[in-house]
């Protein structure tokens, strides 16, 4: 299916995994955002390559749209929020950066273990699937161990990338309508989160989620 060799594919996968891990390791929000952008670019490229390989125009178009929306609009939006909030650090909670990287590594191993039954498929698919799941785990980890709301959003986006990747390797993409809908949802989601972050900034004067603990019981 994918129009390039296994080694190229593996390289791309490595980049994806690496960027995911770097997001976990980032100390500054802006770095994490950048890593995510890189990752998204590669994911989109993967899709476009697939489209070119299969001569499927709609997939190519979709890939380009994705590239513009996810790697273009979303980072810009988030950057603006970051700028206005003057947030720099990711704000660790529960786990420090290094420790979370170790955990993330462990989770990656775990995802390889989980996907072992998939070896029956093409090995690099298995590889891809494992990395997709690892990205999902990293996203969750990021959300659970960082205080800044923007990092949580990045976690969601990372999960989204992971799922997208999983879908890519599992099914070579969902029906277009569904994909479009999903992508649209993500985009709208980020816009809404952006609005919400702005409001958060107005009322709390920071993007620190940990301040928001008044609703309990």
């Amino acid at each position: 299916m994918v129009g390039f060799s296994d080694s190229t594919l593996n390289l791309v996968l490595l980049i994806l995994l690496g960027s995911g891990l770097m997001m976990v390791y980032s100390a500054r929000v802006i770095n994490a955002l950048n890593w995510w952008t890189i990752q998204t670019v590669f994911v989109s490229l993967l899709l476009i390559a697939e489209g070119i390989h299969n001569d499927a125009t709609e997939i190519i178009i979709f890939g380009i749209l994705l590239l513009i929306a996810k790697a273009g609009i979303i980072p810009i939006l988030l950057r603006r929020v970051l700028k206005t909030s003057r947030t720099v650090w990711v704000g660790e909670i529960f786990l420090k950066r290094a420790m979370s990287l170790v955990v993330a590594g462990g989770l990656t191993l775990l995802s390889y273990v989980i996907t072992e039954p998939m070896l029956a498929l093409h090995p690099s698919y298995r590889n891809g699937l494992a990395i997709a799941i690892a990205l999902i785990f990293c996203g969750l980890l990021l959300m659970m161990t960082r205080k800044i709301s923007m990092v949580q959003v990045l976690g969601v986006l990372l999960i989204d990338n992971g799922i997208f990747l999983a879908g890519f390797f599992l099914t070579q993409g969902m029906p277009l309508l569904v994909e479009l809908g999903a992508a649209f949802d993500i985009l709208v989601g980020v816009v809404i989160v952006g609005i919400l972050s702005k409001q958060m900034l107005e009322t709390y004067d920071s993007l620190n989620v940990d301040h928001m603990r008044s609703l309990k019981g």
Binding site: T171, M174, V178, G181, I192, V193, V209, L215, G217
Partner: protein, 486 residues
């Protein structure tokens, strides 16, 4: 077409924030919605199913049930909104200019929900459910207070993450179905899938089902993934709380039901999803006991009660016997009506007393006897006390537990319900009687017209005394849809 109505209405709302304009537009939209929806429901029920737009939109009895719940409650809640939001504006809770955004998001929210129940495609259902989350996020945070934003944030993050799992699940399903049905929408179409259900790849399918149940389950609010729910319900404007509780949760449950009836046909066997649902149900019931007993926030109380009722529904549907599913379908309708009514009446109360703390609300019967009366009705309805219809549906659901050989769980669940009843009764008695505080005593009294708000509860009451044959027929159709070939 009603989706279109909703979207157009939503956009229309943005043009003016004038009270009369909004009322007029809303009313027109509601009438159109009711007409087109009613027509669709009628067509669906008389033919068993109804397709539109070359199968892109499709309804059967189950969708029709959900559709009618959405429309009935939407009409009730939105009409209530007029006065309620006006009052909020005049109390300077937010500027009038933002009123239009309120209706905009409400109608977007409506549109997404209508989409969920109008599509035969599991993928599009996912898109719709995700859409409902996004549409309501800003509604939850509408007051822009610290707490409201906190609630909105928790809501959006938890739900989006949860629903991502459902997307993964959907993909896994697609992966197992695509080889059989092709890489098209068909592979996620619940009309097509049953035909090939037996041949689906079980590894993918199993994972997919698990992810989907957990994912949508987070949105339904199964314990322990319910954490967002009380926050969101308590901070949103009361009409929105009503919609969230009475409709949105049902829509998410609807998604689970579609998966459930599909999974029953596959190699996983009919008990696979059922067992998970029952476990979630019992856990939800059990945990909510604690939250409800020691609650001091009236809207959170109702929110937790919603979790509890979702648990009951999960048990009912999960059991998979005809009676239990019949009861659960009825319960879905009745819980929606009851909860919407309660949120509306409690919303009014909170607005008038200016507090959500149960310990500060006293002597309602002395000042607002009609509100008090409706609250009593609501209390009885929501706790499944006879002669309310919820009693009937709960009996049917729990009898299923005994029938399938889980008498112990059945006993426990009834015990949980009873303790929950005790908690509810305690809180409501506190609020209804006693001496009202002084500033509340200066509030204006109310007129008999308030009683009109109790219409949904009266319906619930009537359904407790007898079930019309037509409704029974519909419910039987719903049962057939859910149980499929089982």
């Amino acid at each position: 077409m009603f989706i279109g109505v909703a979207v157009i209405a939503a956009v229309g709302m943005l043009f003016s924030a004038k009270d009369t304009y909004l009322r007029l537009l809303n009313s027109v939209a509601l009438v159109l919605l009711t007409l087109s929806g009613g027509w669709t429901i009628r067509e669906t029920l008389s033919h068993g199913s109804y397709a539109y737009g070359s199968g892109l939109l499709y309804w059967d009895a189950l969708s029709a049930l959900l559709l009618s719940v959405i429309i009935i409650i939407a009409v009730y809640v939105i009409i209530f909104s007029f006065g309620y939001m006006e009052e909020e504006v005049s109390e300077k809770k937010f500027p009038r200019s933002r009123l239009k955004w309120y209706y905009f998001w409400i109608w977007i929210f409506m549109a997404t929900m209508l989409l969920v129940v109008s599509t035969p495609n599991l993928g599009i259902i996912w898109v719709g459910i995700e859409g409902t989350t996004l549409a309501t996020t800003l509604l939850v945070g509408f007051y822009r207070s610290k707490k409201a934003i906190e609630a909105a944030w928790k809501y959006v993050i938890l739900c989006v993450v949860g629903i991502s799992f459902a997307l993964l699940g959907t993909m896994l399903l697609f992966a197992s179905a695509a080889p059989l049905l092709g890489q098209t929408l068909d592979a996620l179409d619940w009309r097509m899938l049953p035909e090939v259900a037996g041949q689906l790849d079980s590894t993918f399918l199993r994972l997919g089902v698990l992810f989907a149940i957990v994912g949508y389950g987070a949105k339904v609010g199964f314990a322990p993934m319910h954490a967002w729910l009380p926050d969101a319900h308590s901070q949103a404007p009361s009409p929105v709380s009503a919609l969230l509780s009475a409709v949105l949760l049902n829509c998410a449950l609807y998604a689970i039901l579609r998966w459930y009836s599909l999974a029953n046909l596959t190699s996983l066997g009919p008990d696979f999803v059922g067992t998970i649902l029952i476990s979630f149900g019992v856990l939800s019931l059990g945990l909510m006991v604690g939250f409800i007993l020691l609650q001091n926030d009236i809207k959170r109380l109702l929110a937790y009660s919603s979790v509890e009722h979702m648990g009951i529904l999960a048990i009912g549907f999960g059991l998979g016997t005809r009676e239990a599913v019949w009861g659960a379908s009825l319960h879905l309708l009745l819980h929606g009506l009851t909860k919407a009514n309660l949120f509306v009446i409690i919303g009014r109360l909170v607005q008038k007393t200016g507090t959500r703390e149960i310990s500060k609300i006293r002597g309602i019967f002395k000042i607002w006897p009609y509100t008090g009366l409706i609250m009593v009705l609501g209390l009885l309805g929501i706790t499944g006390t006879p002669p309310f219809g919820t009693f009937r549906s709960e009996v049917f659901i729990f009898s299923g537990l005994f029938k399938t050989g889980h008498p112990l769980i059945g006993f426990l669940s009834i015990a949980f319900l009873t303790i929950i009843f005790a908690g509810f009764l305690y809180h409501f008695l506190q609020m209804l009687y006693g001496e009202p505080s002084e500033d509340v005593q200066q509030q204006p009294r109310e007129s008999v017209g308030t009683l009109a708000l109790a219409i949904p509860l009266l319906v619930v009451l009537c359904l407790g005394l007898f079930i019309p044959e037509s409704l029974n027929e519909v419910l039987n159709q719903v049962v057939n849809v859910i149980l499929g070939g089982v």
